[in-house]
Symmetry: C2
Subunit: 607 residues, 2 copies
C-alpha cells in the first residue's frame, strides 16, 4: 500500500511554465517526473511505477516473439560507430566525450553496431539463427530543441530489438513478428496507433515503418488515403508528371513585373499585364526558388536553392529527409549577404547551379520532382522587378545535379494530393512516433563483418532488422490519450495503483474503515494508494485523486453513518454508493473487470 | 524454460587475456558478460537474469526499511556539482562533456546533489520527514585503471539511498536502519561481509562505514583487532606517542655514511661506525624522506616530501586518503630533475619546507604522526654519503605546516600495530568494498539550501545520510565467493535458473523425458535451463553445466533404461540417482530446501 502521508510526491496547482502539452503539464503537476535539465527528467515513485508497468508489457510481448533480453552500455567507444559511418553522420545530434586518456566515446542513441559486433563475437553458423535480442535501456540524443517533456527528451528509455537472419525471407518473417509484437503492446496499452511507411534516415536499410499515435500535439505529420496508403509525410513520394516535348514551345521572355516579389502578387501582375488566353495564371505556374542552408555532419554550412511550384511551400522536414545526413535550416541575412546574385523575390535559375556556367561560385540548385523536362514556368529574372516567362525546364534550365540528386522531395504535401500508389487523395494528420521498425538488411553486418557459414559451408553476410520503441515516450502518449481537464486517467494495467482510497473528515472510524479496506484489498493483490493524510481537506484530496489519475477512487467519509462508501470511476465520472461491508468484494470485482477488458486482445483483432 | 539450443550464449574454453580474477574470468567464459570497452561491459541474457535477482533482493530490503524508489538521470548539468564543490574535487575521475550549446555536463558517479535538490523542491516541513529514497541506476567513473571486470568498472550499477532528517537523532536512526538493510541483503545473498570504519573522502560527512567482502583479490586493505576494532586501512589512525622534552638531548651531528643510501645499509653503517651504548640502531630510529607527487583536482602537480620512520614504507592509499581530494603518485625522474636539492638516499629535512627558510622554492614537507616533538632521528644530510644523527623533531626541524597539516597518516600499517582504541594488535586482510554508508550531516543541505520548518516554525537545515551499494560489484563478489576450478556455483536465489537439465545421447526417449521433466518443473514455478542441443557430446554439456553454475544439474541419459536420472549438487559434487517417475517431485523438494535455507535469516543472527 502507498500512503499519501509518506509517499514522496507533491502535486502542483500551477502548470510548469515550460509545459506546452498535456502530458508534460500533468506528469509534472501530479508529481510523476521532475525536470533535471533541458530534456532530462528525474522519476518520482509514481512515475517509476507506471514506467515499470509499461516495460513489463513490452518485455512480455518481446518474449512472446522469442526475444531474449540483453543490455548494452550507454557509454560506447567511437570505433564501431566510425566503422558504420554513423560517428560522422550523427553530427551534433549525439553526445560525445573523451575519457581521461583522450579516447573518443559517445552516449549511444541506438545500438546497431554493438549488437552486430556481439553476434559476430558469439555466433558463426546459420544454425545459430534466427536470433531476436533486445534491451530496454537509457539512450541519449542531443536534441537541438528538446521539448514537450518526455515527448522529445535528451535522456530517454527505449526498447530496441535486433533480428539476425541468414536470408531475406528470414528477415521478412522476423520483421512481421516484431510488427505484431508492437501491435500487441499498443493494443494492451489501449493506445490506437497508425502504421505508416517511413524513411530510414541515418539508420539505413531498405524498408521501415513507424507506429504513430495520432494526436494534434504530435511532431510527425502523416498522410492516409481512402485506399489504405499511409506514410509519414517525409516518406511520401511525389508522382512525377510526364515530360512535355520541348519542340514548338514558346521562347522565354523577360518582362517587367513591378511589385511582384511574392507569388500572390506575381500571379496578379501576370494576369493583369500578361494574361494567357486559355485560363488565368495560377500559383502553380510559377517556380519559387527558396534559399536554404544545409548543415553537413562535419558542421559545414552550404547555402543551396530549391525550386518548387509556387503553390507550395518547401517542407523543411521532407527536404531534410531527402538530404540526410545533412540537416536543413532557413537561410539567414548573413547567408544572403554572401550571395549578391540572389535578388530576393526575383531569384531565378539563370544564376544557379550549372545554369550559371560562368560563375564558379554558383549555388547548388535542386528542383522539386514536379519540375520535369518541358514544363513551363514564370520565375525570377534575377533583377529587381523583373520575371521571366515561358522558361522551359530541360531547355532553359536544369537542376544542378552535380551530386546526382537533380530532383528532391522538397515541397509540402497538400490535402487532396494523390497518393503515390493511386489509392486516392491524401488527408493529413499529426502523430507521436512511438515505434520505428527497420529492415536494415546488410548495412551493419557488411560494414562490421558479420558473416556465418550457410548450410553449404559458404560464408554469407547476415541480414538484420532493428526495432525501436520509445518507452518513456509511450508513457507520455498514454498521458496524452488518457486525461481530462482535471488530471490523468491511467489505464488500469499501467496505473501506479488500482484503487485510490480517500478518507475524509476527522472521524477516527473513517480512517479505521479506510485502512481496513485498503489492507483487505492489498491481501487480494489489489494495489492501493491510500490518502491517509489527517489534516487535509476533502476538496484537496479529491483534487489530488483526480490529478494523480488512479482509475478507481473510493471515498470513505460521511456515508459511513449510512453504511456506505462512494465508488467513483475516474474516467466516466460516474459514482455509486456501495455498502461498506461489501466494499472490498465489490471493488475487487470492478478492478478485475477493468483488467480483463484491457488484457484480452486476440491477435485476430489486430488490423 | 531456457533452451540452450537457442539461448544467446556461448561458453569459452580459454580465459580472456585481460582477466586477472576468477569473477572476471568466469563471467566472461560462461557468457554472462562481454567487454565493450575498458571497464565497460555488455550483459548477456544469463548475466542480466542474475543481476535482476540481486536487484530484487536489494529492492525488497530497501522497501523493508521504508525506502521509496526513484530514478535520476545519469547525464547531469554542472551547476549543482559546482555548488557542492564536487565538480572541482572529482578531478579527472568523472566523465565530463559539453552539449551542442556548450553547456557543461557530467555522467554522475553519485547523486547527493540531485537528491538534495529534489527534496528541496518537494518538501518544506519537518512533518514531511523522515524520508528514505533510493535508486538503482547506472553510474559512471572514469577510473584511471579499470580492472578485474565488474570489480572496478567505469559504467556500473549502484543502489544509492539517501535519508533526510530534521535532527541528529533522526540521522542516527536512519543510518542504523540502512546498516541493517545492508546486513540483510548480504545475509540473503550468503555473502559474508565485514563492516569497517572508513574515511568519507570526497563524499564528505562525519562518519562512514564500509561493507567489505573479505578476499585476497579485494582492492581494499582492512584491519581488525581482537577487541572488535575494524577499519579500512585508510581510516586507521596512528596512536601518537608522547612528546619528549627537548632539554638535555644531544646536539645533532653530521657523519660520513658511505654506501648507506638505503635504510638497511644505513642501519648497518650506523651500528658499525657509530654504535649506541644502550642497544643497536634500528630502522625505526631513522627518518626516511619519500618524494611523492600530488595531483590536485585542477590537474596541477605538486612535488612534496613525506617523512616516515624508516621501518615503514609510505602507504600511498593511506597518504592519498589523508590528502583528498588530491591524488598521489610516485615521483618520476623528471620530478627529481627539477629539484637538485634532493640527493637521493640522503634527503633530509634541512632542504625541505620551512626548515629551508632561505629557499623560496623549498618543497612542502609532511611528517608521519609518530614524528612528535623531541623524537631523535638519523636522517639524510642532503649530501651524498652523509647522514645527520640525533636530529631532534621540534628543535632541529618541523613539518611544513603552512597549510595546517603538519602530520599525516602516511606510513603503512604493520601486522601487530596497536589498534587506536586500545583493543589489541591489528591483523590485516583484503576485501572488496560492496557498500559504503555515510552520515553526511549537513554538507549538501547547507551548500544547496535544503531547509524545512521545524515544529517551532524555525527554518532548520536538514541532515542527511547517503548509502551506496555496488550492485554489479556485488555480482562479481558473488562469483568470487561461489566458484571452483570448473566454473561458477550460484546461490539458488540469484542463479539464472534453479535446475540445469542435461539430455545426453541421441535417443529420442531421452529428449522426450528431459523435456517432460523440464515442463513439469516449470509448471511448479521452478526455472529450468534445459540443454536440448541435439548433437553436442555429453562431455561438452557437462562442462558447460559446471561452468554456467546453476546449483542443481539433472542428467537424463543412459540411466533411463534403469528408470533413473542423475541429480547432481553443483557445489558439493555429490550425485544421486532418482527414479525418473519421481524426479519432478524430488527435484522440486531439493530446490525448495535450498531456497528456504538462504531466505531465512532472522535479524537476531546479524552480528
Amino acid at each position: 500500500m502507498l500512503r499519501l502521508s509518506t509517499l514522496f510526491v507533491r502535486t502542483l496547482r500551477e502548470d510548469p511554465s515550460d509545459a506546452e502539452v498535456a502530458s508534460h503539464r500533468l506528469l509534472v503537476r501530479a508529481g510523476y517526473i521532475r525536470r533535471a535539465a533541458p530534456g532530462i527528467y528525474s522519476w518520482l515513485p509514481l512515475g517509476l511505477r507506471v514506467l515499470d508497468r509499461i516495460e513489463t508489457i513490452v518485455r512480455e510481448e518481446m518474449a512472446a516473439v522469442g526475444g531474449q533480453e540483453v543490455r548494452f552500455p550507454a557509454l560506447l567507444p567511437r570505433e564501431p560507430y566510425e566503422a558504420s559511418g554513423r560517428w560522422h553522420e550523427y553530427g551534433p545530434n549525439i553526445f560525445r566525450l573523451r575519457d581521461r586518456k583522450e579516447a573518443d566515446y559517445l552516449l549511444a542513441p541506438t545500438h546497431e553496431e554493438m549488437f552486430t559486433l556481439l553476434v559476430k563475437d558469439l555466433y558463426s553458423s546459420y544454425k545459430d539463427l534466427p536470433l531476436v535480442i533486445y534491451q530496454i535501456q537509457t539512450k541519449y540524443r542531443d536534441e537541438a530543441r528538446p521539448r514537450a517533456g518526455l515527448l522529445r527528451a535528451r535522456e530517454f528509455i527505449m526498447k530496441d530489438a535486433y533480428t539476425f537472419d541468414v536470408d531475406d525471407a528470414g528477415l521478412d518473417a522476423a520483421y512481421q513478428n516484431q510488427r505484431l509484437a508492437y501491435q500487441r503492446v499498443f493494443r494492451r496499452l489501449g493506445l490506437p496507433t497508425v502504421i505508416v511507411s517511413a524513411v530510414s534516415g541515418a539508420m539505413g536499410g531498405s524498408h521501415s515503418e513507424e507506429f504513430l499515435y495520432p494526436t494534434p500535439v504530435g511532431e510527425d505529420t502523416f498522410v492516409r488515403s481512402p485506399g489504405g496508403y499511409a506514410a509519414n509525410a517525409e516518406a511520401v513520394t511525389t508522382p512525377v508528371p510526364p515530360c512535355v516535348p520541348l519542340d514548338g514551345q514558346p521562347e522565354a521572355h523577360i518582362e517587367d513585373t513591378p511589385d511582384a516579389s511574392t507569388i500572390a502578387s506575381l500571379v496578379t501582375v501576370a494576369n493583369e499585364r500578361f494574361p494567357r488566353s486559355d485560363r488565368p495564371w495560377q500559383a502553380s505556374d510559377t517556380l519559387k526558388n527558396v534559399v536554404v542552408v544545409l548543415i553537413h555532419p562535419g558542421g559545414e554550412r552550404e547555402t543551396i536553392v530549391v525550386g518548387v511550384p509556387g503553390d507550395r511551400d518547401v517542407d523543411m522536414t521532407r527536404l531534410a529527409a531527402s538530404l540526410e545526413p545533412a540537416t536543413v535550416e532557413v537561410a539567414e541575412e548573413t547567408d544572403f549577404a554572401r550571395h549578391p546574385e540572389l535578388v530576393r523575390g526575383y531569384i531565378g535559375p539563370a544564376v544557379l547551379g550549372v545554369n550559371a556556367p560562368d560563375s564558379g561560385a554558383a549555388l547548388r540548385y535542386l528542383l522539386d520532382r514536379r519540375v520535369v523536362s518541358g514544363t513551363r514556368w514564370i520565375t525570377g529574372a534575377n533583377t529587381h522587378g523583373r520575371h521571366v516567362f515561358d522558361l522551359l525546364a530541360g531547355r532553359d534550365f536544369v537542376a544542378a545535379g552535380a551530386e546526382g540528386q537533380p530532383t528532391v522531395e522538397a515541397a509540402e504535401i497538400l490535402e487532396g494530393d494523390p497518393a503515390p500508389d493511386g489509392s486516392g487523395p491524401l488527408t493529413q494528420a499529426r502523430g507521436i512516433e512511438l515505434g520505428h521498425i527497420f529492415q536494415l538488411g546488410r548495412k551493419y553486418s557488411k560494414s562490421l563483418g558479420l558473416q556465418v557459414l550457410d548450410s553449404g559451408g559458404r560464408q554469407v553476410t547476415v541480414t538484420m532488422g532493428s526495432y525501436g520503441l520509445g518507452v518513456t515516450r509511450t508513457m507520455a502518449a498514454l498521458a496524452e490519450a488518457n486525461h481530462d481537464e482535471r488530471g490523468l486517467i491511467w489505464p488500469i494495467n499501467v496505473a501506479p495503483a488500482h484503487v485510490h482510497i480517500v478518507a475524509t473528515g476527522k472521524d477516527g472510524t473513517v480512517f479505521a474503515q479506510a485502512e481496513r479496506i485498503a489492507l483487505e484489498l492489498g491481501d487480494r493483490g489489489i494495489e492501493v494508494l491510500y490518502d491517509d493524510r489527517p489534516k487535509v481537506s476533502p476538496g484537496v484530496k479529491f483534487g489530488d485523486a483526480e490529478l494523480l489519475g488512479v482509475p478507481f477512487i473510493v471515498i470513505v467519509g460521511k456515508g459511513l453513518t449510512q453504511g456506505v462508501v462512494e465508488f467513483r470511476d475516474r474516467r466516466s465520472h460516474t459514482a455509486q454508493e456501495i455498502p461498506v461491508d461489501d466494499a472490498v468484494g465489490a471493488i475487487a470485482e470492478r478492478v478485475a473487470e477493468a483488467q480483463a477488458a484491457l488484457e484480452t486482445y486476440p491477435d485476430e483483432d489486430i488490423a
